[in-house]
């Protein structure tokens, strides 16, 4: 009897693991096989027209979105983590409040971020559907990711470095910026890569903030659609299936690059 249970569990483990693997391979293979034939040079033209739903403007907008969002969230997130790890004492009320707030922020669904961004940045601040409204919304959304990973990275820096710095008469700022932060760079980088992945994949938070304008935005005030939003628009229009497949291939490729970068950074982190 015991033998039977053992064998069954053993078999189930292999079967379920195989299912996970096969499902993913199927998704990727299906998209690649159907998408690659549609990867036409025309889809990478800078002008979007109704005849040629080029993804190039969306690709450019995605890059804008990633860079600008990081520009806002990265300093804020790193400064927050520095404050949490290096400055405050244990058991501080303010810290517990910040921890709960970031945990809460991490759990909020992206559609709620979208609503909030629309209400606060779009309407209250009057930015309308614009790149800046999308950037600010996503900035808040990825803040918890940056804070958590940076915090971990700072915590893993050996206290010996800090002591050594202080013992030489360096002030706190100098110890933090010259010794602790440089040692934490790989960990922070891992967080940044994670955040980039989230920005690329995001759509629900952007539809009502950055909007769906398929042109390259000329100013921060212009509406812009990222690749994910572009993909959503295409797939809700039945006659653009081929282009949607092609866009999915590009998105998959981007995520693959991001994941590989994360793995390389992690490896560097461990061997160091």
């Amino acid at each position: 009897m015991r033998k039977i249970i053992d064998t069954t569990l053993f078999a189930l483990t292999w079967i379920f693991a195989a299912i996970t693997l096969l499902v993913l391979l199927f998704i990727v293979a299906h998209i690649v096989i159907n998408g690659v034939p549609h990867l036409d040079a025309r889809l990478f033209e800078f002008a979007f027209t109704t005849e040629n739903v080029s993804m190039m403007p969306a690709l450019v907008s995605t890059i804008f979105m990633v860079v600008l969002t990081l520009l806002i969230a990265l300093p804020l997130g790193i400064f927050t983590s520095i404050y949490l790890v290096e400055y405050v004492k244990k058991g501080n009320k303010f810290v517990m409040l910040i921890r709960s707030a970031t945990e809460m922020l991490a759990g909020i669904p992206s559609i709620v971020y979208g609503l909030f961004g629309m209400l606060m940045f779009g309407q209250f601040f009057g930015f309308g559907w614009s790149l800046i409204a999308g950037v600010l919304t996503l900035g808040i959304m990825i803040l918890p990711v940056i804070i958590r990973t940076t915090e971990e990275a700072l915590k893993s820096v050996s206290d010996g470095y800090r002591e050594g710095g202080y013992a030489l008469g360096a002030g706190k700022l100098r110890v933090v910026f010259r010794i602790v932060l440089p040692s934490a760079v790989p960990g922070i980088l891992a967080g940044v890569i994670l955040a980039i992945g989230r920005i690329i994949g995001e759509s629900a938070a952007l539809i009502f903030t950055a909007g769906t304008m398929p042109q390259i935005p000329e100013t921060l005030g212009h509406s812009a659609r990222t690749l994910s939003v572009h993909m959503w628009v295409l797939s809700s229009e039945a006659h653009h299936t081929g282009e949607a497949y092609a866009t999915a291939v590009v998105l998959l490729l981007l995520i693959l690059v991001v994941n590989t970068a994360a793995a390389v950074v992690a490896k560097f982190f461990i061997t160091k």
């Binding site: 015991r2 053992d6 483990t13 292999w14 079967i15 379920f16 693991a17 996970t20 693997l21 499902v23 993913l24 998704i27 990727v28 299906h30 159907n34 300093p75 400064f79 927050t80 404050y83 949490l84 400055y87 303010f94 910040i98 707030a101 970031t102 945990e103 809460m104 922020l105 759990g107 909020i108 669904p109 559609i111 709620v112 609503l115 909030f116 209400l119 606060m120 209250f124 803040l143 002030g171 706190k172 700022l173 992945g197 994949g201 995001e202 759509s203 629900a204 994910s228 939003v229 993909m231 959503w232 797939s235 809700s236 497949y245 998105l251 998959l252 995520i255 693959l256 991001v258 994941n259």
Partner: protein, 292 residues
């Protein structure tokens, strides 16, 4: 001068840290300020327990119970599909996977985690929906395939990486000595893993399930694309239903300012409350695991 810089930066850091709290407060303020008047106007009971959602009628009704029910059903379905597969896969990765396969499987799971929801949704449209339509035709003689079942299957796949990754680290965190102790008593490898290691990791595994629930409840685009989105009380898994998240995305683009739009924001509040409950549950579970 030197002293000034130290103090100045400490304030800069403190201010930055305050932004997170400020952001959270702002989210609540804006959602509640815009959504609560609608709830008050409709009446909290009518809003939450009303089974009719007809915002465009001459005498409109705003009841979100159909959406609440759909969100719960779809999430439960996703859990039923995703959790067993996820946990067994985690066990496999932690204890049975040959090294060469791990080097392939782990990045695969991470890729699964990174795929944008719209890509999943699109996959759902082209593969899962037709597949469900076939089953539905065979069993009930009808149905378009855009249904709760399609959403369940898709979300079940989407929460896999969360469950696999977090369960795997929980299983790996169990001291090696537990496993060795069990082996030393003559238990087989499989038995040691399932009856000693797995129970020891149960709170971590449970936490992964809660996170998966959070992801499923909050998922928007993929659900919109496959669930059919009919705003009525869910009847069968082969028929369409509209989740809370979908309600916002679908109607926000054309809702006119006023009660209709505000009631959509109120839908966001309901969603926020759900997430809050899940968060509290998560905190309790992880606290407990730290205690033992």
């Amino acid at each position: 001068m030197h002293k000034f810089r130290e103090v100045f930066f400490e304030y800069v850091f403190m201010f930055s840290a305050g932004i997170s709290i400020l952001a959270l407060v702002m989210i609540f303020v804006f959602l509640f300020a815009n959504g609560m008047p609608a709830v008050a106007e409709v009446g909290p009971i009518n809003f939450i327990f009303g089974t009719e959602w007809r915002p465009m009628d001459a005498t409109p009704s705003f009841g979100v119970l159909p959406m609440i029910a759909a969100s719960i059903y779809i999430t439960l379905g996703a859990i039923v599909i995703g959790v067993p597969v996820g946990i067994f896969t985690a066990v496999f990765l932690a204890h049975m996977c040959p090294k060469w396969l791990y080097a392939f499987l782990k990045p695969t799971v991470n890729l699964l985690a990174g795929i944008p929801s719209v890509v999943y949704g699109f996959f759902g449209i082209v593969i899962i929906v037709p597949f469900v339509r076939e089953i539905s035709l065979a069993l009930t003689g009808g149905g378009s395939g855009s249904s709760m079942l399609a959403a369940m299957i898709l979300l079940g796949i989407m929460i896999l990486p969360t469950i696999v990754n977090i369960s795997e680290s929980a299983i790996r965190a169990v001291p090696e000595s537990y496993y060795e102790g069990s082996l030393a008593l003559g238990a087989s490898h499989t038995r040691s893993v399932f009856s000693v290691v797995l129970p020891a990791a149960k709170s971590g595994i449970f936490a992964s399930v809660i996170l998966g629930v959070g992801r499923a409840v909050g998922e928007t685009m993929a659900v919109v694309m496959v669930a059919g989105n009919q705003a009525r009380m869910p009847e069968s898994i082969f028929r369409g239903a509209r989740a809370l998240t979908s309600n916002i995305v679908i109607e926000m683009s054309y809702a006119e300012a006023g009660l209709h739009r505000d009631s959509l924001i109120a839908t966001g509040i309901v969603l926020l409350v759900f997430i809050f409950i899940i968060n509290v549950a998560f905190t309790i579970v992880t606290r407990k695991s730290r205690g033992t």
